[in-house]
């Protein structure tokens, strides 16, 4: 069972494809005969090796200039779709891809299935599975309209696996005129500094919630434990909204999805919107002073206790462990 042509809307991190792009390519390969990428950026040649390795046989590349990339992506895709008729276009649920797929959906008059966590074929039907209610329930939805189908998939839904393919040839597409939409310009980029591994890629994630009590407690409790275990520190939305830590640390429905080997939740209640971002972790450890907190329903080890008492002792014990 397969469909003909699947495109992946590729994104990059520096001169490498984003992990979410490689995840989508791996899945696309499984269901399609032909897999190609569409990429908005000026460094397509640097990415072509890895994109090919993961299964792309071609990269359609377009330069955004100083315009918001998603807008240019959508305008370029309108023309590419007309010329090449892909059956399905996959987007990762990221900032720029969201802009691109949203505008494209209006231009092509196609629905978008969003927040996908699974993707499969049933005969010639393309079905997207979406987790709702904090991941307790999965809704399978099939496209019924005309192709191309547009689907947006949450990062970390599939494992990225190399296909040992050779570098994909790059076909440069002229920057389209995006009309008034193209008047949105990027003036300057600011990169927040980060120590240690990336949150989405870390093998160990230690997250703090409102139960840590104050912004000042985040360093000595959460950051410290994360650093000691060579992991990354994360957060619940409650403390991001409170301004204790930057948004880039948020785990959950509106933040990042993480799937580490070990997830440690400190003073986090376990609201469904948080669980959906970390339930896929191999092992979960939770410390919460409320024995009834929902986080315990997913924890492999749950400690009913005060983070201010347990964590400092734990840090000391790990340090002594050597």
């Amino acid at each position: 069972m397969s469909i003909e042509k699947v495109w992946v809307y590729a994104e990059s991190e520096g001169d490498k494809p984003a992990t979410s792009t490689l995840e989508l390519l791996t899945k696309a390969r499984e269901i399609a005969t032909t897999v190609e990428c569409v990429y908005v950026g000026d460094n397509a040649d640097a990415l072509a090796g890895a994109l090919g390795e993961y299964g792309a046989s071609k990269v359609h590349a377009v330069s955004p200039g100083d315009a918001l990339p998603g807008v240019i992506g959508a305008a370029a895709l309108v023309e590419l779709v007309a010329a090449e008729s892909p059956d399905l276009i996959l987007f990762a649920q990221t900032y720029d891809a969201r802009d691109a797929v949203a505008r494209l959906s209006v231009r092509l008059d196609r629905t978008v299935l969003t927040n996908g966590g699974e993707l499969r074929l049933d005969g010639d039907r393309v079905i997207v599975g979406t987790a709702i209610f904090g991941g307790n329930t999965i809704v399978d939805t099939a496209f019924t309209g005309e192709k191309p189908y547009l689907a947006m998939i949450r990062p970390k839904s599939f494992a990225a696996e190399s296909a040992s393919g050779s570098a994909a040839p790059v076909a440069t597409v002229a920057t389209p005129d995006a009309g008034r939409a193209g008047e949105a310009k990027v003036l300057e980029r600011h990169v927040e500094e980060r120590e240690g591994p990336k949150l989405e890629e870390a093998a160990i994630v230690v997250s703090g919630g409102r139960g840590i009590g104050s912004a000042e407690a985040y360093g000595p409790l959460v950051d410290e434990l994360a650093k000691l275990l060579q992991g990354a520190s994360g957060a619940s939305r409650a403390i991001v909204d409170a301004g204790w830590v930057p948004y880039s640390k948020q785990v959950g429905q509106t933040g990042k999805t993480v799937k580490p080997k070990l997830y440690i939740a400190l003073g986090i209640s376990g609201a469904t919107q948080h669980l959906v971002g970390m339930k896929g972790s191999d092992v979960i450890l939770a410390i919460n002073k409320d024995g009834e907190a929902p986080i315990f329903s997913v924890a492999d080890l749950g400690i009913v206790g005060d983070v201010h008492k347990v964590v400092p002792k734990l840090i000391e014990a790990i340090q002594a462990h050597g």
């Binding site: 991190e13 797929v101 399978d140 019924t144 939409a181 927040e192 880039s248 080890l301 749950g302 790990i318």
Partner: protein, 260 residues
């Protein structure tokens, strides 16, 4: 400066959600409230209009059963008036149809410089509607704003990114989606609540906006729910009370995982 704010009226998120067994869509029958995520857009709009020294804030909402309770909350905060699109044919609308309806409603208000939305709704969270509205209007959109400033006919925001944030800018009219925390929403005053009861709400149907029944609702959504199933459940493991020594249990646990 005239600003339209898209506000969604949703079932109380504190009450566990339920699916309609017949349509597998989220039940939206009961009383609806203002999506908390949209209170930031309302506040932002009120502040921008004040800063501009004139103009007004108009709310735009699509909701079942001519629901207005969420709108009244936002009117009580200080918005001047509202357009409410409500029509049985709209049930089951996908994000695209919803965005087309909202874009037409903005055009119906007329003379709008800026449309504000949240980045995603609490109950639907597709996050595509803001840019879809912009494309339907033919306007630029700046999404994921963590700050918004207007000067010289342009809107400039700090846009959240994977790596940090970008400064981005577009000429008005434009659509901007704002993240939670962009401003601190005010609480409606008693006076505001009383005044809100008398503020005008323009109630329209999809037909009034020029849509045929086959363009919206289930018919226009081009998708079909084929199955609703339970996700593989995660078992709760061991749970212990801290007796002052639980860190030792955690150390053993981490050793077992070969982490230390």
């Amino acid at each position: 400066m005239n600003i339209a704010v898209c506000v969604k009226q949703i079932p109380d998120p504190a009450v566990p959600g339920e699916l309609n067994p017949e349509t597998s869509a989220l039940k939206r029958e009961g009383k609806l409230i203002l999506d908390d995520s949209d209170s930031y857009g309302v506040e932002m709009a009120l502040q921008l209009v004040t800063a501009a020294g004139g103009g007004e804030v108009t709310l735009v909402s699509m909701a079942p059963n001519n629901e207005t309770s969420g709108l009244r909350t936002a009117l009580a905060m200080g918005a001047a008036k509202a357009v409410l699109v409500s029509d049985d044919t709209l049930a089951g609308s996908d994000a695209l149809s919803t965005a087309k309806i909202l874009a037409k409603s903005v055009e119906r208000v007329g003379d709008i410089d800026l449309v504000l939305t949240a980045t995603e709704s609490t109950d639907g969270y597709t996050g595509t509607i803001p840019a879809q509205i912009a494309e339907a209007l033919g306007w630029p959109s700046l999404t994921f704003a963590k700050s918004v400033a207007i000067a010289d006919g342009k809107v400039k925001i700090q846009r959240q990114t994977e790596a940090g944030f970008d400064d981005v800018e577009a000429p008005l009219p434009a659509v901007v989606s704002v993240t939670a925390g962009v401003v601190e929403p005010r609480y409606p005053s008693f006076k505001g609540i009383m005044e809100a009861k008398k503020k005008p709400v323009d109630e329209v149907t999809a037909g009034d906006l020029g849509f045929n029944p086959d363009q919206v609702g289930w018919a226009g959504s081009h998708q079909e729910i084929v199955e609703v199933r339970a996700a593989p459940a995660r078992e709760a493991g061991e749970k212990i009370e801290d007796d002052g020594e639980s860190h030792a249990r955690i150390v053993t646990f981490l050793e077992g995982l070969k982490i230390i």
